[in-house]
């Protein structure tokens, strides 16, 4: 620590810092004069080190409780090697700093901020630029990661690092961060983690939970990833009010569940994903039921996809709106071991063709999925290539017309809801294109039509009269 710096320079730094410290309380560092590492080494535990605007050399290690505060967005530049900031002490706070240019060695986990044995680490309102991993926290119980802007490296997705990775850390709070172009945001052994109002886009797994129990996931927007969130081997998870949008790719899921027990999911939006919700062996305990209530599944290729052995999921008060396939099983066989209505409240199905003569809001006949084309896809997955073709619709129409062709229903909802239930407003994410642009484009198309049609009537002076036209 401090080794390598000439002793006289160190003394000077200590004196300078000490002077400022005695006069103003907090330590103020300016770029150029003394290295940031020397300033940190000279500071006392508990000091507040203020970084003024400018660029500081990275590769620094913080080994005592300190608060690093940037003023005017100072940059800590890792110079493309190793991790930019390493924290190995409790009660460290880093705020208002730009952390840039880590190394790109995936095997060394080069990060913007890496930490070990750093309880109550607070990383607040920083910007991460061109870093392999954004932050990699180990043993940082009670860590707080808030309002950071994390941008990854422009690499092939498997070569990128994780925006946020948390390892063996309980009671962490991850809130209001924007993560873009990372690989995953991973929570390993992160019990009682709170993940709230984050926006994760253009990565692989927006959120990835491994062995993280009692987590609380609320109000996050996870869009344009391969998978919005994949929760694995975790128990007692609460997911409310999240938006899963446009998570696509060959194994694209909005929300994926594997061996999850004790899930509560309500008020989530699953929109335009390849598969909205996918569950494999969840719940895994035979005496456990999962309630999936008041979620919206809209415009997905498949709204809900369940493994063929998945059972004891209770779907109630959800809206299934115009998914190409509303609900499917990933192999043949029904989903009848799951419940599609609960205490007389089913789900809203946009393709429900029944009626409600007594006007109680509940369909008078059951809703069933007994779609021949979907059944064919389950038997012959290659058939998915024809999804959405007129031929696929013809197959379905044939099975409706000739009941002998109709497959066994894969699910039955005895109390389908006629109207879409009321939902609280969803957070708006991608801003809508200006109506003016659309108007101009449409008028342009119509104008093009007019020009072509008028072209036939235009009289050229050298026109030859043919076919008796005048």
């Amino acid at each position: 620590m401090g080794g390598g710096a000439p002793r006289s320079l160190l003394y000077a730094a200590v004196v300078a810092v000490g002077l400022i410290a005695t006069m103003a309380g907090p330590v103020v560092a300016a770029p150029g004069e003394v290295s940031l590492q020397d300033v940190i080494d000279a500071a006392d535990p508990g000091d507040i080190v203020t970084l003024t605007a400018g660029t500081y050399d990275g590769g620094i290690t913080i080994d005592k409780p300190l608060t690093l505060v940037g003023e005017g967005w100072p940059v800590i530049d890792g110079g493309g090697e190793g991790s930019v900031v390493t924290v190995v002490a409790p009660d460290v706070t880093i705020r208002g700093v730009v952390i840039a240019n880590s190394g790109n060695r995936l095997d060394r986990e080069n990060s913007g901020i890496t930490s070990d044995l750093s309880p109550r680490l607070r990383i607040i309102d920083n910007r991460f630029q061109n870093v392999l991993f954004g932050m990699f926290l180990r043993h940082a119980h009670g860590a707080e990661i808030r309002d950071n802007e994390i941008g990854g490296m422009d690499l092939f997705i498997a070569r990128r690092g994780d925006g946020i990775r948390i390892w063996q850390t309980t009671d962490a709070v991850v809130e209001g961060n924007h993560v873009a172009n990372g690989r995953d945001s991973v929570f390993w052994f992160a019990d009682r983690v709170t993940v709230r109002n984050n926006h994760v886009e253009d990565g692989r797994y927006g959120l990835h939970f491994m062995y993280s129990d009692d987590a609380f996931v609320e109000g996050n927007v996870l869009e344009n990833n391969s998978v919005g969130a994949f929760l694995m081997y975790s128990t007692d998870l609460t997911m409310t009010g999240n938006v899963f949008r446009s998570n696509r790719g060959p194994s694209g899921y909005g929300l994926g569940l594997k061996d999850v027990d004790g899930l509560t999911a309500s008020g989530n939006r699953f929109v335009e994903n390849r598969v909205g919700l996918y569950a494999d062996n969840s719940p895994s305990k035979v005496d456990l039921y999962h309630h999936l209530e008041s979620n919206v599944f809209a415009f997905n290729n498949i709204g809900v996809l369940l493994g063929s052995t998945v059972a004891r999921n209770v779907f109630t008060g959800n809206a299934f709106i115009d998914n190409s396939v509303q609900v499917a099983s990933d192999s043949t066989g029904g989903l009848l071991d799951n419940e599609w209505s609960y205490e007389g409240v089913g789900n809203h199905w946009s393709d429900f063709a029944g009626f409600d003569a007594d006007s109680d809001g509940i369909g008078d006949i059951a809703y069933q999925i007994d779609n021949l084309f979907t059944d064919l896809i389950e038997r012959y997955p290659e058939m998915a290539f024809f999804s959405g073709t007129p031929a696929a619709q013809a197959v379905d129409m044939a099975s409706k017309t000739f009941p002998s062709l109709r497959p066994e229903p894969i699910l039955t909802d005895d109390s389908p809801l006629i109207r879409i239930p009321a939902f609280p407003p969803a957070p708006m994410t991608t801003e809508a294109t200006s109506g003016l642009v659309v108007l101009v484009a449409s008028l342009g198309l119509l104008l093009a039509a007019l020009v072509v049609m008028a072209g036939g009537r235009f009289r050229f002076s050298d026109r030859i009269v043919l076919g008796g036209t005048t």
Binding site: V243, R245, R248, G249, P250, G252, R269, V271, E272, R274, V296, A298, F299, N301, I321, L376, I377, Y380, P381, E382, M383, A384, F385, S387, G388, T389, P390, A391, A392, A394, I420, F423, A426, T429, T430, E431, A432, T433, G435, V438, L439, V440, A441, S442, L443, G444, L445, L446, A448, A449, L450, V452, M453, G455, G456, R457, R463, L466, G467, T469
Partner: protein
């Protein structure tokens, strides 16, 4: 009267100007054709209806949702545009022949190639107007209802639809130049429509079930169909990939990557060129008049 007085006996060179004159004549006639207006109005009404009914509640889903509208438009185009283009192409020359105007036209100093190409260009212009009217109406309805719309996607789907209509028009004209009466031509056009829209796919589906056709063969067989080429190019424009289309889609992405859209465009172009080429050859034989 058949041999025009003083008609040059030396073969003339092909004149682009005459093609354009005939094309303008065809467009002029299309604008007087009840069928053409019916097609235009029907397509525009359906496209408009789709944008009105498919508009999602933004409060419900946050934002976005044009993907759904666009997918519905693609489904509409698959059905309607081939029908319009095939029947338009098949009816045209055969109809002219039935009414005797084709003989009258051929009495003039124009070659059969010029007549056929001019007719094709004119019909292609009419289809362009029909397609842009439809998509323009869809966009207009969206804009007026301030529904989420991606103008770039709207225009590219219109362009793809027109490309599809070019291929279908070529096949229609081929029918028209080989068959004697307009009603036979119309019947054949309807059969071709049924084949490219339904029977082709149903046949491949049946083959998949019966023989577990390998995905490479499945992709190749389906791709031959210009309507399917249009659909896959549209899916690429919409989703950026064929990933959602199961194993065959994954195979195509893995094998051809970003080239899928180009293959699809190539298929439509190949159908257009070969159908129009065959139509020119058939029409030049000229024993139908």
């Amino acid at each position: 009267m058949t041999a025009a007085v003083g008609a040059p006996t030396v073969p003339r060179t092909f004149e682009l100007r005459l093609v354009s004159v005939i094309a303008r004549k065809v467009i002029r006639e299309a604008s007087r054709d009840r069928w053409f207006w019916l097609y235009c109005a029907g397509f525009a009404a359906l496209a408009g209806a789709i944008t009105v009914t498919a508009v999602p509640d933004q409060n419900l889903i946050g934002s976005g949702g044009f993907g759904r509208t666009a997918a519905s438009l693609v489904a509409l185009v698959q059905l309607v545009v081939p029908l319009m283009a095939l029947t338009l192409g098949a009816r045209y020359l055969a109809g002219e022949r039935d009414s005797g105007t084709l003989v009258f036209l051929l009495c003039h100093p124009v070659s059969r190639t010029e007549v056929l190409l001019g007719t094709y260009v004119g019909l292609a212009g009419s289809m362009f107007a029909a397609v842009t009217t439809g998509f323009g109406a869809a966009g207009l309805f969206s804009a007026l209802r301030s529904a989420p719309t991606d103008p770039v996607l709207l225009v590219s789907l219109a362009a793809l639809s027109w490309l599809l209509s070019l291929a279908m028009l070529g096949i229609g004209l081929l029918i028209s130049s080989t068959v004697r009466s307009a009603s036979t031509a119309l019947g054949m056009a309807l059969f071709v429509w049924l084949s490219v829209v339904f029977l082709g796919d149903l046949g491949v589906m049946g083959t998949v079930v019966a023989t577990r056709l390998p995905v490479s063969a499945l992709f190749a067989t389906v791709m031959v169909n210009p309507v399917e080429a249009f659909r896959l190019a549209s899916v690429v424009a919409l989703d950026g990939s064929l990933d959602a289309l199961g194993p065959a889609g994954t195979y195509a992405v893995d094998r051809f990557g970003d080239g899928i859209a180009n293959i699809a465009l190539g298929v439509m172009a190949a159908w257009t060129v070969s159908a129009v080429g065959a139509a020119v050859l058939a029409f030049r034989r000229g024993d139908q008049t």
